[in-house]
Amino acid sequence: MKKLLFFVLLLGLQACKDPEVTNPGPVPVAGTTSLNLQLEHYFGNEAIVLNQFTYNTGQNTLGFSNIQYFISGVQLKKADGSWISVPGYAQFTAQSISSGTTQFTEVPKGLYEGIRFNIGVDSVANHTDPSIWPNGHPLSIMEGGPMHWSWNSGYIFIKVEGQYEIPGNPMGGFAYHIGRDDLLLEVKEEGIVLNLQENPASVIFRMDLKKYFNDPNTFTVSPETSFTHSTVNDTVADQLFQNMHSMMTLVAVNP
């Protein structure tokens, strides 16, 4: 009888065991951590407020209605000088905010001395049918469609759009769409200490749109120069692309 009682109690203990967990949620990949890449949008020393038409380039008074771009090809520099790739794409849309952050997971833990990434999309993805990407992916038709030229050169790497003042006339619009394989901008910063040995870290870059219109090319927005779609030999695209090289600066690495 005692055995029977023991058996029943054992049955009870087994029956009340926690059910097997079948959907534990995202599991961090062993040996990896996260990198937060933050982008600030400034005009000189002033954080950009969209649809505020007070920014003076020296040539024009203007404002921005949309600043939108892709980030891809993130790489980190190891102590031995080699670079490791961080998978993932991101799309920044500065339609309502003056800065944005994207998180790249699957970053191998380590101590790094440099970071580089592209503003734009690598040539392979740039010429891949966007329908292959699942909805929600930055390059998918749903997310990236407004940033995609269906039949031409692929994605628009960066859009800068807004309005500028024409003295004595109604304000005019400008739309600068840079996007062609040879207009992929590399942003690189070396000589930093980026500690991703255990915990996530953040890197903050600033995009200065005043330099976009001034450094090194002094660019005047006019009816003749108010747009580019980056066709070959388009001088507007070429001048602005040269200026893009000066517009990105490192602000901080945290921690």
Binding site: A15, S65, D129, P146
Partner: protein, 364 residues
Amino acid sequence: MKKYFTFLAFILFGILTACKDDLPVQPPVTDYPAPTPYTFPVLPGFPAQNTKADNPLTIEGIELGRSLFYDPVLSGDNTQSCGSCHNAVNGFTDNGKAFSTGITGAEGTRNSMPLFNLQWNTRFFWDGRAATLRQQVLMPIQDPVEMHELLPNAIAELSQLPGYKAKFGRAFGTEDINSERIAKALEQFIFSMISGQSKHDLVLRGMASYTDSEQRGQDIFRAEFSVPGSGRPAGGDCFHCHTTVLFTNNQFANNGLDSVFTDVGYESVTNNPLDRGKFKVPSLRNIALTAPYMHDGRFTTLEEVIDHYNSGIKSSLTLDPNMKSQGSGLGLNPLQKADLVAFLKTLTDTAFVNNPQFQDPFTP
């Protein structure tokens, strides 16, 4: 001994009841079997299915939505259905009318919009005032200048009609009729309306060929604007807004129809003056079937539309920046305009508009 068995029985009872929370959750009791999942056709180049997680498409749900779409019981005097102003042969627009007439005889102020590929759409109506299709479908039913019905009345009438309780039961498990289920059924039906079998699609799939004129028209459609006389090929610049396989970027734009706006469009939703005169960029699929054109139906033919882009663009603060550079227009010659029209007609999907799945089930 009897005492032991009583004790054991007590323990067993305790075990069975104490572990109740760990038992598998039983599905809610329904009056009907689970509806049949709907399988979407696979269309090359199209985005992945984008329906709602809380409203998976089913054969029974779509069938209910189709009945509701074509049933005039949803209007105040039972004379108009959604299908009255969204006719299949017109690409689900209103029979060539600039404005639709509601049950009271009142006329709307904007052109009836075509209905297809809406699971990939963002914001609805010309002014984007509905964030989701599920919100949108109930609005014309209640609009005094459209179907002019109160939802409680519609629900009461549906409950009295033979067959509807069973249709709701088959679609949703129980026979309850409410506005959320009406909206979900309409959402399912409209989400199932996919247009991707036009001649243009068949050309992309290697199953058809363009005529010379259609090919030239496509070249113009996808080419950048070039100043006439510059020596560069003529460009329509169409693809910036009418982009991707959906032929829309899902944005709102001022395409230069007016300098002074009697209808402010998207601004009425955002309250941002910089959205003044902006309207939803429509898909160009089935465009040859959906005349008249623009939010107010001001153009009756595709030729008139192209003439607008060719020489009629009016400047204003919010004119799309992409169009600023074109001055008053593209400057295409008559042959180029005709070629562009020829290409646009390849976007007509007769298989879609004639698909029996989307026709009025009450018409024999």
